[in-house]
C-alpha cells in the first residue's frame, strides 16, 4: 500500500476537484428548511433502527471465578455487539442522525460526514443505507481491513486519512473538508455533538439501571469520544451513588482501536473531566489478554476495547475484594472480536 504523505495529498486534491465539479450545491434556503418528514418517518419504519439498543446484560460468573473473585463481587457485561451494526456506536449514530433530521441539518441534498476510526462509521453507513441518505467518512488508513470492507459493503464513500496521523488526523481532514464545502455536508462531529452522550442518557443508562435492579455500583467504560461514559454515567449518577470509571490506553502509542489517550489527544468537546471518579490506563497487551480470556472462559468473543474495560474491571474488582467490599460492576462490551481478526493481535499462537 502506498501509504504516506503523497497518497494523502493525492486523495485530498481528488476530493477538492470532485467538490468543485459538483453540479448541484445545497442553497442556504435549503439548509435552513425544517425537518424532512419522509426521513423522520423512515426512522420509525426502519427495522434496523428499531433493533438498536435493548442489549443483554450478562453476569460473567465463570470469568469471576477465573479471576478468583469472591461471591460478593459481581461482573456484568453489556453485550453491545448484538446491535445490528455490531457495536455500541449504533446508539450514538442513531441519536446523532435523528437529532440532525429533526433540526433540519440532515435532509435532501446533504451528505452526512464525519471522522471515525471505524464503529461509528459503520453505524452511519448502515443507517445511511437503511434511511437513504448519503454518507462520507474519513477513516485513518490504519483502520482494520474488516472495517474498511464493512464500510464498502454498506455503500458509504470513504476517504482515508494519513495513517501516521491516527484518528486526530481524520478529524483535522474533516475540518478542512467542511471549511471548503460546508453546505454540501452535515458534519456529524461525534466528538462534539451533544446527541452522542444523549443517546446513552436516553437508552444505555436506563437499560443498565433496570437490568442491574438498580444495584450497579460501578460503571466501567472505555474513552474514545467519551460519549458512553458521559451519557451513561450522567444518567446513573442521577439514580444513585454509582462510581464512574473511564478506561484509556496506558500509552499514547497503542493498539486498542477506538480508544483515545486523552493526555496526548484532541480532547472531545463532550468530555467533562469532573464526571469520572477514576481513569484507568490499560496496556494493549493486557486488553487483548482479557479479551482472549473472555472468549475462552465465557465463550463471548469481544473486541479489544471490551478487553480493556474487562482488564480495568478485573483490577478494580481485586482491589474491592481485598478491601472486603461488595460490588456490582457493569462493564461495557463495546463490540465483537471478529472485526479485528486481520490485526496481529489474534495471530495464532
Amino acid at each position: 500500500m502506498p501509504w504516506g504523505v503523497s497518497y494523502f495529498l493525492m486523495k485530498n486534491s481528488e476530493y477538492a476537484m470532485h467538490d468543485r465539479a459538483k453540479a448541484t450545491r445545497t442553497t442556504p434556503e435549503q439548509a435552513i428548511c425544517g425537518p424532512d418528514a419522509a426521513l423522520l418517518a423512515s426512522i420509525a419504519e426502519s427495522a434496523v433502527a428499531r433493533s438498536i439498543g435493548n442489549t443483554p446484560l450478562h453476569r460473567l460468573r465463570r470469568y469471576e471465578r477465573y479471576l478468583g473473585l469472591p461471591e460478593t463481587i459481581e461482573l456484568h457485561l453489556k453485550a453491545e455487539w448484538v446491535n445490528p451494526g455490531g457495536s455500541i456506536k449504533d446508539r450514538t449514530a442513531l441519536s446523532i442522525v435523528r437529532a440532525a433530521i429533526k433540526s433540519g441539518q440532515l435532509g435532501p441534498g446533504r451528505t452526512l460526514l464525519d471522522a471515525t476510526s471505524g464503529n461509528t462509521g459503520i453505524a452511519y453507513a448502515m443507517l445511511g443505507a437503511a434511511l437513504s441518505f448519503p454518507v462520507t467518512l474519513v477513516v485513518p488508513g490504519s483502520a482494520s481491513e474488516e472495517r474498511k470492507r464493512t464500510l464498502a459493503a454498506y455503500g458509504a464513500r470513504v476517504i482515508y486519512s494519513d495513517p501516521y496521523e491516527g484518528s486526530d488526523g481524520a478529524i483535522r481532514l474533516v475540518r478542512e473538508m467542511t471549511s471548503v464545502a460546508g453546505d454540501d455536508f452535515f458534519y456529524a462531529d461525534q466528538y462534539n455533538n451533544p446527541a452522542n452522550p444523549a443517546a446513552h442518557v436516553a437508552t444505555t443508562g436506563p437499560e443498565i439501571w433496570r437490568q442491574s435492579d438498580g444495584r450497579v455500583t460501578h460503571l466501567v467504560a472505555a474513552l474514545g469520544t467519551t460519549g458512553t461514559l458521559m451519557g451513561t454515567g450522567a444518567y446513573l449518577r442521577q439514580q444513585g451513588a454509582v462510581q464512574l470509571i473511564g478506561v484509556q490506553p496506558a500509552e499514547a502509542f497503542h493498539g486498542i482501536e477506538g480508544l483515545k489517550h486523552l493526555p496526548t489527544a484532541i480532547v472531545p468537546g463532550i468530555y467533562d473531566p469532573s464526571l469520572p471518579d477514576r481513569i484507568m490506563g490499560i496496556e494493549t497487551e493486557a486488553a487483548f489478554e482479557a479479551a482472549r480470556a473472555l472468549a475462552r472462559v465465557e465463550g463471548f468473543f469481544a473486541g479489544s476495547s471490551t478487553g480493556a474495560n474487562l482488564a480495568a474491571a478485573g483490577e478494580l474488582a481485586r482491589e474491592l475484594a481485598s478491601a472486603g467490599q461488595a460490588a456490582r460492576l457493569v462493564v461495557i462490551g463495546c463490540d465483537g472480536g471478529a472485526r479485528y481478526l486481520s490485526t496481529g493481535l489474534w495471530e495464532l499462537g
Binding site: S142, P163, Y164, E165, G166, A252, L259, L262, E285, G344
Partner: protein, 98 residues
C-alpha cells in the same frame, strides 16, 4: 551480508515525542532490526514501544517497508535498500498530539 543502507523512517504521531516532533527521520541499517537499533540509539525509548522484551515486533504494531508489511516478508530480518521507507503504524487507529 547486505551492507548498511540509509532509509527514511516514518514516525506516527504518538511516537513523535521521542523524535522532537519529527515525522520522518533518517537512519542507517542493513535490516529492519538494524534500523530500529539505530533509531533507538538516536531516540531512546522508541524501540521498547515497537518491540517486546524478546525483540519481536509487538503484535499491535505494523512495520512497512515501502508499504509492504514486514510480517509478510522476513520480519525484523527484512533487508533494507538505500532510500527505502520504513513505516511504523499501530495496528489500529489511535489518538495523537493535537
Amino acid at each position: 551480508m547486505a551492507s548498511e543502507s540509509t532509509v527514511q523512517v516514518l514516525i506516527p504521531t504518538p511516537l513523535r515525542r521521542f523524535t522532537d516532533g519529527e515525522s520522518r527521520v533518517e537512519v542507517s541499517g542493513a535490516t529492519v532490526g538494524d534500523a530500529l537499533d539505530a533509531l533507538e540509539a538516536r531516540f531512546p525509548g522508541i524501540d521498547e514501544r515497537v518491540r517486546d522484551d524478546s525483540g519481536q515486533i509487538r503484535r499491535f504494531v505494523n512495520l512497512f517497508v515501502n508499504g509492504q508489511n514486514v510480517r509478510d516478508r522476513d520480519g525484523i530480518a527484512t533487508p533494507l535498500s538505500p532510500g527505502d521507507e520504513l513505516g511504523i503504524i499501530p495496528a489500529m487507529a489511535g489518538g495523537s498530539a493535537a
